[in-house]
Symmetry: C2
Subunit: 299 residues, 2 copies
C-alpha cells in the first residue's frame, strides 16, 4: 500500500495523530463540559517549550481545557498533590525528565490514578502487567501513551490488524528498550496480541510470548535477522545504530527515541521506516484524558 | 572517645549490629510466636550467597523464623504476590539488584507494605517524605534499613545525639548519592533532625534543611571542605575518590557503597572512618521485621 509513496508520506505520524484527534474531538463535543487537564513544566529548555506549545495546540484542537503550570522541580510533588485534590482538574501530565533519576518514578506515582493521563503510575502498570484491561464496570483501563502510539502506528502500517482476534499473530518483533515507561509495557502488549518479542536492553535479551517473559540466549545479530519489525528507543550515544545489512529488506523499522537509532541506509524505498511517534503519543494523551474523564469525573 | 583506639576497633559495624540484635532478641523472646520472614534470591553469585548466609545467621540469632526461597527472576513478581497472601509470612525482603533497571522499582512496590522489611515501597517512602512517623495508633512507621543503619552508626560515633531534641543540629553533612533507596531518604532524615545536608549526585547538588530540599550552587570542593560528616554510596568506577586533602582533619567519613569511595589516606588516626554499614543494615532488617510483626500481624 505504501510502496509507491515516499516513506515520509507513507506514514506521517502527524497525519495519523489527526485521525485520532478527530475521534476525540467528536466525543468531547457530546459532553456537557470539556475535560480539564494540567501540564506541569519544571524546565524552560527548548524541547519542553516545544512540547508545551504542541500539547496546548492539540488540546485546544480537540476541545480539552488546557492549563500549563510552570513550577520549580522541587515544588512539583506538592503541586501534583494539590492538583489531585482539585475537583476541577480531570487529568495531569508532566514533561520528563524532571530530576532524571529514580525520583521521577516516585513523582509519577504521586499522580492520582484517576487523573493519570500518561498511565504510568503503579495502579495502571499493575493492571497492564496482569493483563487486566478494565478498571471497574464499563471502565476501560488506561494504557501508557507511547506504547499505545506504537500500536496505532503499526495498525496504520497494516501489520497490526484489529479485524482479527490476535492482531499481530506470528510476527517476530525486536525491541531495543525495556524501560517501565515504554519497552516493557510494549513487549507485554505486543506479545499479548500474538507477536514473539525479543526485548533487548543493556542487561541482555528476554523473550516475550503471550505476555509472558522468558530467558533467551540470542545475539543482536540473530534477533535482528529474524525480525519482521524492529522498534528502538535507546537514548545512549554508545548504542551502535542498526544498519540495513542487519535486517531483512522488508523489516518495518520504528524509532521512538529522540536520538537516531538507525543508520540512514535503513530508509530504503522497499521499507517502511517510522522515525518518530511524538504526535501520536500526544494524541493518545488526549484519548486518555477523555477516557479518564468518562471513567471517573463525569457527573 | 575513640581517639586512642585503632579505627577498626572504634567503630566495628558488626559489634554495633550485635547490640541492636540483642534488643530485638529480647523483644522476640516475649512474643507468643516468632515472626517469620522470607528472603527471595534470584541469583547465585557469591555476594548473594554470602548475604543469604549472613541474614540467615542474623535471623536465627535473634529468633526470627527465616526461609530462603530461590526463584527465577522472572518468577519473582508472582512469588512476592503469593507471599503477600500467605498469612504465615510476616516479612519479605529481596536481594538486589534483580533486573538492574527500573523493573526493580516496580518489584519493590509489589511487596505488601505490611510485610515490607526494607521499607522501600511507596507507602513507606511517602510517609518518610511527608515526615509522617506513624502508621496508625501506636504503630511506628517503617524506615528504610540502610539510612537507618547510617543513623545508628552516627549515634555510635557520638555525633547523632538521641538525648537532645534535634539530634544532629548544626552539623554540615555531604552525601554523595541521591537514590530513592538510600541517599534521598537519608538526606531527608538527617536534615529533619537538624543537619544541613548537601546531597550530590550525577545531576548536581541539592541542599536539604529541615527536611526540605532547595537548589544550591556549590562545588564538590566547597561542599567537602565544609563537611563535618561525608557519606558516600557511589557504585560507579568513574567517581573520583575523596582524598584526605579535600576534607577537614576531623571529618567523619562513612561509605555505604560496596565500592571504595575514599582514598586510603582518609583513614588517619585523627579521623573516624566507617568503611561499611552492611551488618547494621541487616540488624535494621531484623528490627523492621519485629516492628512489622507487632504492628500488623500479632493477634
Amino acid at each position: 500500500m505504501t510502496k509507491n509513496l515516499p516513506m515520509s508520506h507513507a506514514l506521517d505520524p502527524a497525519r495519523i495523530a489527526e485521525r485520532y484527534r478527530r475521534e476525540v474531538r467528536e466525543e468531547i463535543r457530546l459532553l456537557d463540559k470539556p475535560p480539564k487537564v494540567i501540564l506541569f513544566l519544571t524546565t524552560d529548555n527548548p524541547d519542553s517549550t516545544t512540547y508545551a506549545q504542541y500539547t496546548q495546540h492539540a488540546c485546544e484542537d480537540v476541545g480539552i481545557d488546557y492549563e500549563l503550570r510552570r513550577v520549580a522541580r522541587l515544588d512539583l510533588e506538592e503541586a501534583i498533590l494539590a492538583a489531585n485534590q482539585d475537583a476541577s482538574i480531570h487529568g495531569i501530565f508532566n514533561y520528563w525528565p524532571v530530576f532524571n533519576n529514580e525520583q521521577d518514578g516516585y513523582l509519577r506515582n504521586q499522580v492520582d490514578f484517576k487523573k493519570d493521563i500518561e498511565g504510568l503510575c503503579l495502579y495502571w502498570t499493575r493492571k497492564l502487567y496482569s493483563n487486566d484491561r478494565m478498571a471497574g464496570d464499563n471502565k476501560k483501563a488506561i494504557l501508557p501513551c507511547t506504547p499505545l502510539a506504537v500500536l496505532k502506528l503499526l495498525t496504520e502500517a497494516g501489520v497490526y490488524r484489529t479485524d482479527i482476534e490476535r492482531p499481530i499473530e506470528g510476527k517476530n518483533i525486536c525491541i531495543f528498550n525495556r524501560s517501565e515507561i515504554v519497552g516493557r509495557p510494549l513487549a507485554m502488549m505486543l506479545s499479548n496480541d500474538g507477536a514473539t518479542v525479543v526485548s533487548i536492553d543493556i542487561n541482555g535479551p528476554l523473550q516475550f510470548v503471550d505476555a509472558k517473559p522468558a530467558e533467551i540466549d540470542i545475539s543482536r545479530a540473530e534477533a535482528l535477522s529474524q525480525a519482521d519489525i524492529v522498534i528502538t528507543g535507546v537514548p545512549s550515544a554508545d548504542f551502535v545504530k542498526i544498519s540495513n545489512a542487519e535486517i531483512k529488506p522488508d523489516t518495518i523499522c520504528l524509532n521512538f527515541s529522540s536520538r537516531a537509532n538507525f543508520e540512514a541506509n535503513v530508509a530504503t524505498s522497499e521499507r517502511l521506516f517510522i522515525p518518530r511517534v511524538g504526535p501520536v503519543t500526544v494524541a493518545m494523551c488526549m484519548r486518555n484524558s477523555l477516557r479518564l474523564y468518562k471513567n471517573f469525573h463525569q457527573s
